[in-house]
Symmetry: C2
């Protein structure tokens, strides 16, 4: 199995939109810089939290072009390549590989339901063949709450066996620790990232290489503390702290809540905008969320607060 | 409410692929001509049965360009404009409207789950505003088995009220007759198409304007007989016949089964190819399907058989 290109705390970066609803490249570049400065080990741009599927392929490619042109290191990027067709997925991946990204995060073809592992294998196989690049590192993206189409242990095994240098890891956003544990047990050396920091410590203890988590957008320092100290006596207390923050945030619709928090702590109200079909938090929800965060003393962490000021 | 542009038996046309997996424009054009010749009242190209989401937007637009260039009347076309982003959906729809199509079939943004009606309303509203054409006729596409994101009665009501000249109809592929009946009761004059001919006669009796059905790919003549004779004493017997054919086919994976039937009756084995993540029927399944069809005397109907010969 190939050495994976990522480990640590990866952030599926929120995508800011302008008042007229267009992707806001300027704010996006600044925010990516900010997250790296905060200690993010990688940026999983164009994930679910990024509202990637609310952008056309062309919009995503243009945003990546601008990010690279602005000097964000390609090796730190793991763009999502979510698409239901082999052709679209291949186009997005070729473009990303052309920029030298560290890897791509790849959804199954999520329009379809009840597909066989043979059919899903064909899908990944076809994309890998079309892209035809030794530089390609795929992280599978298992997120059944969104896709209602999972990536089974058996399918992972077949892909890893057929493409050991290419299929190098997986983000598990099933929210099902048993599934994450089973992947870790079955595929030692495979780079597994739980999709929430709630499972970070349990994951690291069982061989996970980090996490890719939405709340990284507002809490890289806290989450990194667990990553850096997971073998120390403080680990459980540090984990409890980030779990508490996460549970507070996810009591609200996650993406609008995170954008509202960024808007608040970065003093930039326009950050709260989402694209349809998402809706921004109401004023009442926003106030309640910020009050809930204040109650648990959540302040974006020392480094993050300083950088945002 | 605007006069809808379609009524009768519409076919979500299967998309043929070449041996190398590319959309096969030549076979597609011939097959569209064949279906119109068989009596299809409209062609809902780029639907679920068309494996539309297994094609990139660029591939779909190119196929539509070629269909129009080949002389298929645009007024007979209701292309699917399935996309999860306002930007992609708008691009596909502008392109289709530019060709003068009779209408478009529009999915909700299917990557997302549990979205509010407010958010879904925003999605359709944003697309309609971006397209900005009085020529636009939208048929909503309710297919919760695929999207796991439905179009509620309340949302239909809001859209019809806000855009009476634009949101003119709906394809109901819920498979839930109670839902179809409720739409018909609540929105008289709205052009409702059950998504299966199994509900054609019940639908027509309650005000539906026809059906948009996968099995139209292999049984336009049979289905049209019900449409033409629904007020005669033969109606129930004719309906029983097409229901029997449909149930026989849908005992197998629907799209691969339909392609296999086309391959058989058109003496063109290449027609059986599907794109991943679908898989073609096995030889055993194919033989069983054809035997099942022979048992019920299914021969594609007189006109269809002659044309295929």
């Amino acid at each position: 199995m190939a050495s994976p290109s990522f480990a640590g705390v990866l952030v599926p970066v929120l995508t800011p939109f302008t008042r007229s609803g267009e992707p806001d490249a300027g704010r996006f570049i600044s925010f990516c810089r900010f997250l790296l400065d905060q200690g993010a080990d990688g940026l999983a741009i164009f994930g679910t939290t990024s509202e990637a599927n609310s952008m056309s392929g062309a919009e995503r490619m243009e945003l990546l072009d601008k990010l690279i042109a602005a000097g964000i290191p390609a090796s730190k990027l793991m763009p999502g390549a979510g698409a239901c067709s082999v052709s679209e997925a291949s186009t997005l991946i070729k473009h990303a590989i052309g920029h030298g990204v560290g890897g791509v995060l790849m959804l199954p073809p999520f329009y379809y339901k009840g597909m066989s592992d043979d059919g899903l294998y064909d899908f990944f196989d076809s994309v890998i063949n079309r892209v035809g690049s030794a530089a390609l590192k795929i992280y599978l993206y298992h997120i059944p709450p969104q896709t209602v189409l999972g990536i089974s242990l058996d399918l992972i095994g077949r892909l890893v066996k057929a493409f050991p240098q290419t299929v190098v890891g997986l983000k598990d956003s099933s929210g099902d620790w048993k599934n994450t544990a089973a992947i870790l047990e079955n595929f030692p050396g495979f780079a597994v990232f739980p999709g929430s920091e709630v499972f970070l410590l349990d994951g690291l203890r069982k061989g996970a290489v980090g996490c890719i988590t939405a709340s990284g957008n507002v809490n890289v320092p806290g989450i990194r503390k667990v990553y850096e100290n997971w073998q120390t006596p403080q680990a459980d207390a540090l984990q409890a702290e980030i779990t508490k923050a996460r549970m507070t945030i996810q009591a609200y619709p996650m993406v609008p809540a995170l954008k509202r928090i960024v808007a608040h702590f970065h003093n930039d109200p326009d950050w709260a905008a989402v694209r349809p079909p998402m809706t921004a938090l109401t004023e009442a929800q926003s106030s309640a969320l910020l009050a809930d965060l204040a109650k648990i003393g959540f302040t974006l962490g020392e480094r993050q607060r300083q950088a945002a000021e």
